[in-house]
């Protein structure tokens, strides 16, 4: 009895030990250290700092620009999550029906995901400010006649378009895995019972791929909240800070305005908000999962 317990501990340490150690050192320690820094006036560079109690929290709550950008990020997250998931599901649905050439299209839709965010931003910047504008002026297409990145609303839209374009291919993979694993006999039985077309999707496919939906929604929520690289290289928060998403706001506060403590506090607030939202989302979608 006793020896098997020791054996258990040893095998746990052998298999999980390295991962747990790394996780503790890289994530947990840094996280605790981050919380500690929210109580200091560190500027990000100096060797010394002082503890200032909860002043950073007061500053963060009074920082209207932070809350504006948080609100903007919520709008961004809603747009990105809704559009990526709908588009990814539709692509996945049609690319698992055995059409000719679907392998090619799968690769094509997934490829954007392999391009790094900064490069993606630069490429799309060229598309928005050169290609679209030139085409818009030549063929007099109203919405493309001025640079999308030059006014707040269209620049925001540009961010959403690029994020959806990039993320949809990745979520497509998750949905495809879910759809493929739906048992054929269930689908056939449903067909005989008259569940074809949209009704089949709504009542048979969707409930059966609920685990994929849980993961895909969670992934898209997380990615959208943490968006930074495309934001930086596509709009850099402009024009006049109107597309500054919250991750960029936090970074600028910490490193550009040199108020590291306030920036870190805002990051912590962001963490709590995203954690709460994700936990609610996961537990709701989990509840709806069914077994075939």
């Amino acid at each position: 009895m006793k020896s098997s317990k020791i054996k258990n501990v040893v095998s746990f340490l052998v298999f999980a030990g390295p991962a747990v150690t790394v996780f503790f050192l890289v994530i947990i320690l840094a996280f605790i250290n981050g919380i500690q820094l929210t109580f200091t006036d560190w500027n990000g560079l100096s060797d010394t700092y002082q503890y200032i109690g909860f002043r950073n929290y007061a500053d963060a709550f009074a920082d209207t620009a932070f809350w504006t950008s948080l609100l903007r990020t919520f709008q961004y997250v809603v747009c990105v999550v809704v559009f990526t998931n709908i588009i990814a599901f539709l692509i996945a649905y049609f690319l698992t029906r055995g059409y000719k050439g679907q392998g090619f299209f799968r690769v094509a839709f997934f490829t954007p995901n392999l391009i790094g965010g900064v490069i993606l931003g630069i490429v799309w910047k060229f598309v928005f400010s050169e290609v679209f504008v030139q085409l818009g002026r030549k063929y007099e297409i109203g919405i493309f006649q001025s640079n999308w990145l030059s006014s707040p609303d269209t620049a925001f839209l540009a961010l959403v378009v690029v994020a959806v374009w990039q993320l949809a291919g990745y979520l497509m993979l998750i949905y495809m895995a879910g759809i493929i694993s739906v048992p054929k006999d269930v689908l056939e039985a449903a067909k005989l019972d008259g569940a074809v077309g949209f009704r089949g999707i709504r009542h048979i496919v969707l409930p059966l791929i609920m685990p994929s939906i849980t993961i895909a929604t969670f992934m898209s929520v997380k990615t959208a909240f943490m968006a930074y690289d495309v934001n930086l290289s596509l709009t850099n928060g402009g024009p006049f800070q109107s597309t500054e998403l919250v991750a960029m706001r936090v970074y600028n506060k910490a490193f550009q305005a040199e108020q590291y403590g306030v920036g870190q506090t805002e990051a912590l607030i962001l963490f709590v908000i995203v954690a709460v939202i994700s936990i609610i989302q996961v537990s709701i979608t989990k509840k709806r999962e069914v077994e075939a």
Binding site: F31, G34, D47, M226, G238, F240, L270, F271
Partner: protein, 443 residues
Amino acid sequence: MKKKLLCVFMAATMLLGMTACGGGSDDGNASGGSAASTENTADALGKTKITVYLGGDAADENQKIVDIYNEQSETTEVELVTLTEGSSGYEMLTVMYNAGNPPTVYFMEAGDVLKLTDKLMDVSSLEAVQYANAGTTEDVTVDGALYGVPANIQAYGLMYNKQVLADVMGADFDPQSITTREQLEDVFQKVQEAGIAPVAISPFDWNLGNHWFTQIYTGQSETAEERDAFVNGLKDGSSNLVENEVFNDYMDTFDLLMEYNYYKENPLETVADGNEKQAQLLSTGQTAFWFHGNWATVNIRTLDETGEYGFIPVPVGEGNPNAGKICTLVPGYYCVEKSTTTEAQQQAAMEFVNWLIMSEEGQQYVIDCGNIPAYSNNTAEITESVSQSAVSYTAEGKNFPMYVKTPSDHATNVGSAMQKYLAGESDRAALAEEISVYWATQK
């Protein structure tokens, strides 16, 4: 139930990574850095290795000058560090310091140099310092110690394309005869009648916030003390911006530029791009003027190798101390890092900086980058008309220094307020209000 809990827990831990990224970078200070740098101090040939960040936009020229130095130096090997897209030098330096490997020599703006004095060598013993132009070292001198040497001088004002003005106004037209807003408007009208857009405004936050708006701080007075007093007044609320004479003076001129702007239909058209587009407009004769500085020479010369360009001062009221002068600035100082480096590296770094200023190649390098030398012993010939024009002002003392004692997020915040004004989203009162609010949050 257990499965659900596990799932929720996993979701939460994944998210932990997010804040951890933000906080995980504080303790890689001097200790970690010096260990790493001692390993790299000497390579197989016994040369001292140093890393340098030279700043500026001329990446090719930077590499060239480093290569030249490496070829002729027997004791030092210099490695060039470049900037990642989209970040300022100071941001990059923060990251590098926290990772324990800052460059041995780096190029830094005056305001940032002052924040780093505890990590920098006193370079006042360098031979080159005695040749530095008057007024170029004061901003980085603290208690008699000099924390950086000026890299070069830049100038900005209203740049013009001489050929366009000659075509419209006649060959013997002297651009420098434009000294008032009325005269400028007169020229603008004639240029517009000729079917050419009179002026281009670059809508970038650094251009509007730091280059245009700081003129209002310097325009307050001839003396540095009174300028500082005005800015301190903005911080504590005792300076009233909207009723300020100089503010309104400069904004009147800005209104005039906006009225005749090439991008009048959509002033923020190129906000996400670089200044190449305006450089193209000016060099291809699509606009006659451009509010910008000599650093754009590189861009202009890729399109037009021979054309003549020059500056005129931004026209303001007669009582304005900046009237008739162009603005000059020291874009950055070469600093020598001492907190993570070995003595041999510091020595090598000092030698490199001195060589960069004193040697013939180093002096030519300043010119090749399209910059104006900051040292009186620089004998390299200036053939660039943009630089010649700038020097014609500085030689007569018709220049005022750019106000540099601004916080590092000044460009972002004041610049975005100016962008709103430029786009017609706010009026002068709202602009003054937004900028006053920004200053009030500064300590």
